[in-house]
Structure formats: structure tokens, C-alpha cells
Subunit: 212 residues, 2 copies
């Protein structure tokens, strides 16, 4: 029964193998994962409780590259920095994204990121309910933008059906997908930050508070 040539099974190996399968195919199964690792499904359950935990382990791997800014005294610079790191990390695993959004977030490294965002946003004077809505807005925009990084060289190919305004727009992007996606993300993040700043100012004036 011993498999001396197999490295010892660990949560790290399980997460890595599951992520490899998801990157390839967009989904994983416990039997498929066991086969990839050359073990029986039951031996997987000695290390993980099931599918939910494996998704959470993959979230941890995808979040590894997110380093929180030390200095959050400039709220906007801090939020922008977190969003860029979040987007760049998840862009490496586009097929994982719909699995991540279908399961509750509990991994410590991801929680660290949401803690930092919540702290910075609450520091602006936003109510807890608004903090959650802003975090959800950033989440949705970042995850959609991470998918955009995996877009093909030519994103839109409408042929003769494009209106003159759309045709003119489609002639403008930079020649590389990476650069096009990066410029669009920076532009969109600025729009969201400008809208957020305006919202914070309006909310504070309405509450009779000073500007932050």
C-alpha cells in the first residue's frame, strides 16, 4: 500500500494540483484530483474536509502574491495599490474566478486584504453598510478586470456591424493585450475612485461632518 515514489500528500500539494486542473478545464472533481495526485479519493479526505476547503485553499494560493501596503495614510493610493495587486494575482487564474465567487471567503490571506480595505474605507467615515457596498464594487470590478487580462489579442471583432463610433474606438487600443488591459484597468479604477471620493464628500457634508 505504500507509495514511496509519491511525495507525501499535503494541503499544499492538493491545492496546487487542484489549481492546475482548474486552470486547464475550469472545474475539478475529487476523483479527478485524486487521479492527478496518484492517490485514492479517501486519502484526500485525510487532509481536507471536501470541496469547499479545496476551493478555499486555491483562493489562498491565488492570493499569495497580494502584499498589503504598509502605509495607508493616503487612502486612495492604498486602495489603488491593493486593487492592482488583487487584479494581477487573480489574472493568473482566470478559470478559477467563478469557483471563487461561488464559495464563501474565509482564507486568512484574503481576509487580511478585506480587513485592510474595510479599515481604510471606514476611516473615510463611510457607514458599515457602505463599506460593504464599496468592497463589493471593487471586488466585481477587479475580478471582471482579471478576466479581461485573459482576453484574446482582438477582443471585439464585429466586422461590418460596428457603428462608426464603435469602429473608431476599436481602432485605438495598444497592440498588446497586456498593455490594453492594464491601461483600461487603470482608467476604470480612477473612475471608481473619483466616484467614491465624490460619494464620501457628499455623505460627510450631509452628515454635517468635515471633509476627511
Amino acid at each position: 500500500m505504500a507509495r514511496p515514489r509519491q511525495p507525501i500528500l499535503s494541503v499544499e500539494r492538493i491545492a496546487g494540483a487542484a489549481l492546475k486542473i482548474v486552470d486547464r478545464s475550469g472545474e475539478f472533481t475529487i476523483p479527478g484530483l485524486a487521479a492527478e495526485l496518484g492517490v485514492s479519493p479517501s486519502s484526500l479526505y485525510n487532509h481536507v474536509s471536501g470541496r469547499d476547503e479545496i476551493v478555499e485553499l486555491m483562493r489562498g494560493v491565488a492570493s499569495e502574491g497580494i502584499h498589503m501596503p504598509e502605509d495607508t495614510s493616503d487612502w486612495r493610493a492604498a486602495v489603488v495599490e491593493i486593487c492592482w495587486q488583487y487584479r494581477n494575482s487573480y489574472a493568473r487564474h482566470p478559470r478559477l474566478i467563478p469557483l471563487l465567487t461561488a464559495y464563501p471567503v474565509s482564507h486568512p490571506s484574503t481576509t487580511r486584504m478585506y480587513n485592510r480595505l474595510a479599515d481604510v474605507l471606514a476611516g473615510l467615515g463611510l457607514t458599515p453598510a457602505d463599506v460593504l457596498k464599496v468592497i463589493t464594487t471593487l471586488d466585481s470590478f477587479v475580478l471582471g478586470s482579471a478576466l479581461d487580462v485573459a482576453a484574446p489579442e482582438v477582443v471585439w471583432n464585429p466586422g461590418s456591424q460596428a457603428s462608426p463610433a464603435l469602429a473608431a474606438a476599436l481602432e485605438t487600443p495598444p497592440p498588446s493585450t497586456e498593455k490594453r488591459a492594464r491601461e483600461a484597468f487603470g482608467f476604470g479604477l480612477d473612475l471608481v475612485m473619483d466616484g467614491l471620493w465624490q460619494y464620501v464628500q457628499t455623505a460627510r457634508i450631509a452628515a454635517g461632518a468635515g471633509l476627511p
Copy 2:
């Protein structure tokens, strides 16, 4: 060789069966699709040229529910209306989203939506390059938000690791996922529209043009 009990193969049936498989598993293969339809892979190729065309057909099915607003005289109301319809339509097929973003957009019904967006945005005086960036921003935010509709009842479950600000925020969402996701999308869309309006005004002032 005749299969009298099988409905006649058509691009509609192929798209519907492929979407059923993707909704279930996040991916499809030509042999798997042929098996689902009870036909041989080669008979599929009598109707579609391959994988790219099948993805595009699924995009068409997912976009069917998007009805363009007749009146675009209020640019903001028109863009907001398009984004809501786009989000609601794609939210029905969250597992399809990473496939859609990985292939060029060419389906006529989707092109119709992008045409309308480009026309409205160009009408604000935005340059073609900015029109493309705004469309990409809206795309990313809408697709991320469509994934959020498929989120579980409890999106964040950080336990004792939540900071006080995050813990307070997580106590605020409405009890249903549908309502939480809807309120967050409306809030985020407002932020993006406010940021966009500010950008349009600044760009027009810089160009010495009047306000739209």
C-alpha cells in the same frame, strides 16, 4: 443511420446543449457536446465551424434578454439601463463568463449593445480611445457583478480574523443574496457613472468645449 427520434440538429440546439454543459461544469468539449446531443462529432461540423463559433453562439443566447433602450437622450439613464440588462442576462450563466472573455466578441446581438454604448459615449465628446476604455470598464464591472449574483448567501466568512471595521460591514447586508447583489450593483454603477461624468466634464473643459 437515420435517427428519426432525434430532433433535427441546428445551431440553436447546439448552442442550447453547449450552454447546458457549461452551466453545469464550466467547460465543454466537442465530443462531450456531440454525446449530449446524441450525434457524432462530425455531424456537429455540418452546422458549426468549431469551438469559437459555439462560444459565440452561447454568447448570443446569453445576450438574448438584453433589450436596448429606445431613448438615449439621457446618456446616463441609457448606459445604466444597458448595464442592468447586461448584468441580469449574464448572471444566469456565471460559469460561461470566463469562456466569453477568452474569445473575441462578434455576435450581432452583443455588437448591437456595444454599438449603442459607443454611440452614447462618443456623443458625450469622449475620444475613441476613451470610449474603448469606458466600455472595458463597464464590461469588467458588469461581468464581475454578474458573478456576484451567483455568490453564496454568506459571501464572507472570516470568523475571528475580521477587523472591527470588516466585522461591522459584514453585519449589514440584506438577508437575501439577490437583494444584496442588486443593491451593491446599483451602488457601484452610480460610483462609476459619477466618476465618468466628472471625467467627461474635466476632459471637455480641458478641450475648451462646453459641457454636454
